[in-house]
Amino acid sequence: MSNVLEVKDLEIQFEIDEKYYSAVKDVSFYIREGETLGLVGESGCGKSVTSLSIMRLLQDTAKVSGAILYNGENLLELGPAKMRGIRGNEISMIFQEPMTSLNPVHRIGRQIGESLMLHKGLSASEARLEAIELLRKVGIPRPDEVVDDYPHQFSGGMRQRVMIAIAMACQPKLLIADEPTTALDVTIQAQILDLMRKLAAENNMAILLITHDLGVVAEMCDRVAVMYAGKIMEQGPVREVFRNPQNPYTIGLMNSIPKLEGPRMRLQPIEGNVPSVRNMPQGCRFAARCPYVMDICREQDPGLLGAGPEHISRCWLQADREVQTQ
């Protein structure tokens, strides 16, 4: 299977007080056709910025370097018109807030049909018929009636379904879902995840799922990349990473969520805070909070080291037990 998306050495810098600071650095990952990759990390670690940079939706003041290859083509080098042809057509995006992601003044049928008219050259009436079909696919009852409704007439879960319908309209090869279920309650979350999984399977669509919820990752993803302070700390197949986490940060994350099985234990939060972009430590970015910290950690970044098949971890502890990843 070939890679739909390949991100290589991505670095994103923002200007603060006339100096550039890296919010994201050395980020590399790939997504195969039809595969779901989870991008996990706490707030502010650079997940959303990474996803926006793939769509080239960051403001002009952000400096993006490295390469983002979509089917072998570097998106960072595309002109604005070509990039528009990819957005919504080849790569789609779902946002976190279904309440504000829909335009309140347009009927939802029109919003769903918009990208079809834009990219596929459908007429308004064809787009409307297609919109009804899409509403049916995402499980909205009475699609031929609600197609003429406005967003305020929908609940949060229904709006997220509409968002998915919009994203799926042109049958994209890659869907970027930025915390798609964070704003929804738990029962709806499961439905939305199910729906996304079903549609992805039907269309052989790859998903880049951005979340801070490890439960969602376990349920949805084939592989997972754990980000911390703008760098990928650990990456590998979901089963492998969850059963056998290598990086102290990943272990910390897992310990900070409650478990239903086993003896009742106190949750172990990760002490301390994420370092500020303006004041990144020279060595490992997690060093200040890491329970296993060594002298070398504060001086030098270990780089990503092999931990198993397709499994890599950014940690000096890995240096002694490094294995071939292929």
């Binding site: 769509m55 939706l57 528009r84 042809g85 990819i86 957005r87 919504g88 057509n89 789609s92 995006m93 946002f95 976190q96 807030e97 504000t100 992601s101 829909l102 335009n103 309140p104 003044v105 347009h106 918009e114 990208s115 834009l118 990219h119 409704d149 406005y150 007439q153 968002m163 919009i166």
Partner: protein, 303 residues
């Protein structure tokens, strides 16, 4: 009675499920009855202007001999001249009816011109920000710093007095406030996720400006435009009063008032009727604009 209530409730429930924005709008109109008054005045005004030839009793520029007394003073209100005659024997009522055309044309066309300029500049300024924003906003500040009426007066004097030039002068001077308001609205609306979402769907910048952002800020723009209409009607009256606006014998409320000023002691109807017409027109548009503002204010929203 109870049966009626029940059926009304059922009707209401089935309708509320399919309530459009338009229905919501009309529901909240009921809470602000002054809108009706404003709307009615504006409606009557439009009727006057459109059906002027039907409503007028006489030709507005014909000078009737029986409009003047033997000593040359105008005759007062009578059966033949409901609102009296003016200093050269023309029918004040008919001139008033035809004068509504000038007021409405200036009100609508000049507002449309400034709306076009102001909205476009405001959209660009608010959306792009940075240097472009600074430049456009400083130009706007400059425009707003000029005394409107004086500048319009100077401009019409240079261009020559005609209805077209009055329209141009008012139109290209009146966009300052609109640009500012639109910019402010854009600044808040552009942060909404649906703007980002539209971009993620592959929409181009003009498309985002005019099809995503503009429809969302239409409310305040409509309110502003309505209020601008009344202001522009007043400015036109002012220009005509000062003699640089619409030229006699074409009737305009402004030049009618001017003509009446000299004779106000013995022929007050010359000034009073166009004055009242002007007052009502401005009141009508203001009530409509204020009412629309209240209705469109989210704090008064009806759901």
């Amino acid at each position: 009675m109870s049966v009626q209530n029940a059926s009304a409730a059922i009707g209401g429930a089935s309708k509320s499920q399919k309530k459009s924005r338009g229905a919501l709008f009309w529901k909240s109109v009921r809470k602000f009855p002054m809108v009706y008054v404003g709307g009615l005045i504006v409606f009557l005004l439009v009727i006057c202007a459109v059906f002027a030839p039907v409503l007028a009793l006489h030709n507005p520029i014909t000078q009737y001999q029986n409009g003047l007394h033997m000593d040359g003073t105008p005759v007062g209100p009578s059966k033949f001249f409901p609102f009296g005659a003016d200093d050269v024997g023309r029918d004040v009522y008919s001139r008033l009816i035809y004068g509504s055309r000038v007021s409405l044309i200036v009100g609508f066309v000049a507002t449309a011109i400034s709306l076009l300029i102001g909205t476009t500049l405001g959209l660009i300024s608010g959306y792009f920000g940075g240097f472009i924003d600074t430049v456009i906003m400083r130009i706007t500040d400059t425009i707003l710093a000029f005394p409107f009426l004086l500048f319009a007066l100077a401009l019409v004097t240079i261009l020559g007095s005609s209805l077209t030039n009055v329209l141009i002068a008012i139109g290209i001077l009146g966009w300052g406030v609109m640009a500012r308001v639109v910019r402010g609205q854009v600044l808040s609306v552009k942060e909404f996720e649906y703007v980002q979402a539209a971009r993620a769907l592959g929409a181009s910048t003009p498309r985002i400006l005019f099809r995503v952002i503009l429809p969302n800020i239409l409310g305040p723009i409509i309110v502003l435009a309505t209020l601008a209409v009344s202001q522009n009607i007043l400015v036109e009256a002012g220009l005509s009063f000062l003699g640089v606006g619409v030229q006699p014998p074409t009737p305009s409320w402004g030049n009618m008032i001017y003509a009446g000023v000299q004779d106000y002691q013995f022929a007050p109807w010359l000034m009073v009727y166009p004055g009242v017409a002007l007052l009502l027109a401005v009141l009508g548009f203001n009530l409509l604009g204020d009412g629309l503002r209240d209705i469109l204010d989210p704090r008064n929203a009806t759901h």
